[in-house]
């Protein structure tokens, strides 16, 4: 059994209330080796089995997703695309592994949250976006930044806290921003990025309708990434409502890795099936196997096209898993080893590799070449970051305001920012 079809997670059409198999609904039950659910929890999950999801008329009129069986539409992926996807996922994985090493050597500090295991979601969505499209992420944002095009050197230097980082060392691991790549953060608070992403989508629609700036290829799309825990937060629901109300060009991507820190999704959520919350607000909700980059990509193509056309938002729930703890400080004792083993067997990179080799899209040695290239890239990034300077003292007071007169008027009656000693840090503030 290939890694791909290890779990038959179907991508159900958004508004259909019944499902092909019981197993498909509850990700945790898809393999017999996943334990740890009490009988009563299982029972209550099964009770949810036939959701009488009453969707609004808006959604009912829509066509279902192209196909919904698991190992499919491989015809669409050609060699070039497959190699791009492979390289991007390998970049994400190797980068995060290097981060862990650097952290334990003391070069990185603070809160660092690694993305190992979830690469299929980032690669699946972001590689379909154009430069003008926005990505808004959470604190687990290194790989989103890399997929969106931020240089590995810049991200590594930022993590080391050096002045050559993408935010000059002022943001850190949890606050990656890049205006050139339209990466709008990097937020530490759960749910904070969702309204910001909705605002960026609003901005895109406003520009089109009010400022009459249009692009022949459609609206700029915003993709918001967030986790399963966030789906219990008020801001999430507020934004689902407003995004659908105003038909904003946004895709809400839930990276459901089943765990907050030590709190499992099932323990925290009354109805663990997050994709159902989309139709509750009138937008399509998809559930997709987030360990399979090709399936994610297929759903992403549809969702992004929908947004670009101006048809409004989509909620996509990707079932995925993080191989490491919540952060590098998390001992990760609450997750059972068999659950971890189950998902490790479904490693998205291994899956794509075996797919590529099966379909003869590339040879093993070509893939090795890619991996070596990435290895060198990461090492170069580390050397660059290591040899970069720390921020100078004068950087402390910079960038608080765009208009530095915001620091007010000094005792001599002139604007503080005009005092040359001010940014040197030698003036009294």
């Amino acid at each position: 059994m290939s890694a791909f079809s290890a779990a038959k997670i179907l991508s159900p059409p958004p508004f259909v209330a019944r499902f092909a198999s019981e197993k498909s609904l509850c990700p945790f039950l898809s393999s017999p080796s996943v334990p740890a659910l009490t009988r009563s929890a299982l029972r209550s999950i099964r009770l949810l089995r036939t959701p009488l999801a009453v969707s609004s008329d808006v959604v009912i009129g829509q066509k279902p997703l192209a196909s919904s069986s698991s190992a499919t539409q491989n015809e669409d992926v050609d060699r070039e695309v497959a190699l791009v996807l492979y390289e991007d996922m390998v970049l994400g994985r190797f980068f995060e592994d290097m981060c862990a090493q650097m952290y334990y050597r003391g070069k990185m500090f603070g809160f660092v949250h690694l993305y190992n295991g979830q690469e299929a979601v980032s690669t699946g969505f972001i590689k379909l976006l154009e430069a003008r499209d926005c990505v808004v992420s959470t604190y687990r944002d290194h790989v989103h930044a890399l997929s969106k095009g931020v240089a590995a050197r810049a991200v590594m230097a930022e993590l080391f806290g050096k002045t050559t980082g993408c935010c000059r060392g002022q943001g850190g691991s949890m606050h990656m921003f890049s205006s050139t790549h339209n990466l709008l953060g990097g937020f530490a608070f759960i749910g904070e990025g969702i309204p910001v992403a909705t605002g960026a989508a609003f901005s895109s629609k406003y520009r089109h309708e009010v400022l009459k700036e249009s692009n022949p290829n459609g609206l700029d799309v915003t993709v918001a990434f967030f986790g399963d825990g966030t789906c219990n937060n008020g801001q999430f629901f507020e934004c689902l409502n407003m995004a659908q109300l105003w038909k904003l060009p946004i895709v809400f991507v839930v990276e459901n890795n089943l765990w907050a820190i030590g709190m499992s999704h099932v323990r925290a959520t009354s109805d663990p099936e997050i994709w159902k919350k989309g139709p509750a607000f009138g937008m399509p909700g998809y559930h997709v196997d987030g360990m399979d980059v090709l399936k994610v990509r297929e759903v992403a193509i549809e969702a992004i096209a929908r947004a670009r056309r101006g048809d409004g938002p989509t909620l996509v729930e990707c079932e995925t898993y993080r191989f490491r703890g919540h952060s590098l400080a998390d001992p990760d004792e609450l997750r059972k080893p068999d659950e971890k083993a189950h998902y490790a067997a479904r490693d998205p990179i291994a899956a794509l590799k075996s797919y590529i080799l099966e379909k003869n899209l590339a040879t093993e040695s070509e893939l090795k070449v890619i991996e070596e290239k990435i290895d060198n890239l990461i090492e170069d990034a580390v050397e660059f970051a290591d040899s970069s300077p720390h921020p100078p003292r004068s950087q402390l007071l910079e960038n608080v305001f765009v208009d530095p007169k915001g620091f007010g008027i000094g005792p001599d009656g002139k604007y503080r920012c005009e005092d040359p000693k001010f940014t040197e840090g030698t003036a009294q503030v």
């Binding site: 910001v196 609003f202 507020e238 007010g408």
Partner: protein, 377 residues
Amino acid sequence: MLGIVRRKVGCEVFSAMKFSLALRKVLPTGSALPMNYSTATKEITVREALNSALDEEMSADPKVFLMGEEVGEYQGAYKISKGLLEKYGPDRVLDTPITEAGFAGIGVGAAYYGLRPVVEFMTFNFSLQAIDHIINSAAKSNYMSAGQISVPIVFRGPNGAAAGVGAQHSQCFAAWYAHVPGLKVLTPYSAEDARGLLKAAIRDPDPVVFLENELLYGESFPVSAEVLDSSFCLPIGKAKIEREGKHVTITAYSKMVGYALQAAEILSKEGISAEVINLRSIRPLDRATINASVRKTNRLVTVEEGFPQHGVGAEIGMSVVEESFEYLDAPVERIAGADVPMPYAANLERMAVPQVDNIVHAAKRACYRSVPLAATA
């Protein structure tokens, strides 16, 4: 329930005016006082000033849009955005659902990506539901992104006590927001302030918290032709000396400026010439003007409506101690609201907010130290 309460607040604004005892039109009576309102030819209310400022900025820059509860079809909970929906359409004047966190965040996201939103909170008490976005995604972003992402957003709405609206609708947030680096906090008093500072705020590339006052909306102030010009703008970070004096400096902002001016009138009859400073900008605070004034008069009374602990007066007092200690002839007097959640009963509310007599007594204490300190809560 909350929805009903809010509606009532909106409708009752006019009856509230009857209760606002101390608010008379502020005109310097008599003679030789320097008139800071130059050849006043026209009078407009603060409401009209804000409305015209919004109108002009929206017509000058198509990226400016207004968002908030009831700003469109209801013409604004306090009618500040009257007529804007008809003029600019529903794409630029957006009625939002009751989701402060959501729409403040949407405003911030729109500002990240190039627009210039004006987000209205029905009162700043409701901004507490959105405070994460004001502080974490708006104020800190330019710093965290090292200058890549700027947030040209304005959060505006009434702040402080109205009349009889109870504890959850009456808090003053000037000190809260002024605490945060990355924000600019403005508190207009007169119509001139309202127009000039709102225009400056909308044009400013940084996040601005614009604290109005509900009881001032209906107040008329004389304005010169210069103020009515569409390019009129006031500098952010500069206080205004509303009345010059020699014996004691009184700093105030928002509604308290009116009270301070009345107190100055009363004091002048007793031979104390008070200098009244209208702060206009709480962050950045115009420490230069305040200190220059204290160096002239040697005595300071700070007046604010909010709670006393960690308030604006505390910061001003410390600033004066740091920079002009040798010039002080008396300890700094701090007048603030009572250290209690705002009571509802009219007489208790009157006791919980500074009144003109409190300012007069404080100024006398600063001048002679002859009136004993009142009991503190």
